[in-house]
Amino acid sequence: MLIEATALRKFFSLSGGRQVHAVDEVSLGIAEHEVVGLVGESGSGKTTFGKTLIGLHDKSGGEVRYRGELLPARYGAADFRKQASEIQMIFQDPYGSLNPRMTIFEIIAEGLAIREGRSLAALRDKVVYWLERVGLHADHLSRYPHEFSGGQRQRVGIARALIVEPKLLICDEPISALDVSVQAQVVQLLGELQASMGLSMLFIAHDLSMVRYVSNRMAVMYLGSLIELGPAEDLYFRPLHPYTQLLIASNPEPDPEHERQRQDQLISGEIPSPVDLKAHCRFAGRCPKAEARCFEERPALREVLPGRLVACHLL
């Protein structure tokens, strides 16, 4: 594994000693050249997992190893600098994640200039190369973020992350804020870059149907827990966990005939609060198949079929 989290935990403290169990003992690794799709609803802890994995949050428990080397529980400035040329991140909001006072050139070149100790001007050719590689143009160098559409800004974010030629890219909902046709463009661009650079990627999203097109393996989180993990196509077309089954069934299919014949399987209620969780299956309260033991004991993630890991007592 290139990077591997073992029993990673991130709790946030609230007043009165209460704790938000944002990420609760999640073990997940990403191999070299592998794309892992991490999916779940709002509040499932998928973004917190990604950020804790690469040190943007301090760890509350568990460990992360990068190429076998243990990463610190709490990062200092030197740790980030050391890691920056290996691990990069692109963000959900293409508007909020670019400094509005910097030109596109400055935004893309800054990281590399710091790493190589060179002036920005010396990097012009390289920045132009990356601009063109993400589908933008050298004319765009001196423009500011507000002059670009959402899809173009996301391309700037991708160029900024990849110009330092990292090994691992964390993509936090990179397409959620974009239009459908632009989503497909960005997904295709990321796929091409991943293949040509041999990148490893953690692709965080709430839309499973898009994730299937980019991932080798898919991981599903619910309320801070990893509940299912397996090869992407296999998991998408043969989900095993009751939650994953309902999540995939909830997604409307762009096919009117299929939708008219739909047997509605709705999950009742909403994802509960992750504050002071009880020690039982996280999904038990909404699960149509829950039994008594689901409310007593938290199921471990275990291999139920070759390569297929599920956290459910019923399997």
């Binding site: 609803e41 459908v180 046709s181 839309d207 149907s209 005939e257 739909r262 909403e270």
Partner: protein, 340 residues
Amino acid sequence: MMTHDYALQVDNLAVEFDTYGGVVQAVRDVSFKLRKGKTLAIVGESGCGKSVTVQSLMGLIPMPPGRITRGSARLGNDELIGIAPAALNAIRGKRIGMIFQDPMSALNPTMTIGRQIAETLVVHRGLSASAARAEVIELLRLTQISQPEKRLDQYPFEFSGGMLQRAMIALSIACKPEVLIADEPTTALDVTIQAQILLLLQELQSSHGLSIILITHDLGVVARMAHDVAVMYAGQVVESGLVDDIFYRSAHPYTLGLRAAMPSNDPRKRQLQIIPGSPPDLFAPPPGCGFADRCAQAMRVCRDTPPPAYGHTHQARCWLQDPLAPASPVTSLMVNNKAD
């Protein structure tokens, strides 16, 4: 079909905005009909004019800088375009309800949910405060909000996103409107909550006979909800028809492109096709078809001359529908019309 079969009929609507950069022609000659008791989905991407179209019907675009330069919109037999603000106030919220994408910013954060819904009932239906309160509880129950007696005294921040959208729906149907306009009602919600909200809208449609205009960019939502579809691109309706026409007999290359770009549950669809490029600048719309620059089938005429609308119930604005056009991947409407 007779006019009275339509809840809302829009003809040749054009809307412009003055900006520092010049005049943006946001809506360029849009026409559609909403059948009574049915759902019309208006599909398109950011900036295609789908939201501006419905907002201009409701008098919700700021004027100036906005301006309706042409067109008509009839709710039943009543014209909406150009009427006095007071007359529009009597219609808006009463005969036309509206749900927005972001319920958190559409609701007043300083008023309880109950008071916001009651306000509509008092203003439009003249109910007393106590009668309005009882009606609000009924509406919250109808939209499946648990413990409505307790919930109505809570503020928007105490509701989850899905619950807020239910409250928004309760507010929009409080006056039993003829038409409900839902502008991206589930875009901000998770898929499991989206499924619940869509089912609620379908149930309300059959119980109340609502006619719904659903604005969305998600073809999955369209397939689940719509009876009729209008596909918008660059300020125009480029294709319209029954939902099956749009999905199974797409007659415009943009519709085909959108469908190919959508992820699907079909295991055979292993690759997403992309539409290269981006929509045209509406400061200076191209002289011909707005999609020509991105269209693999574009001919010389497409760049020079705007295409007319071909077809009857299933229409497409595309030169490929012309009898003189070469064979192409789009469904020919000529064949369809003979079959009609």
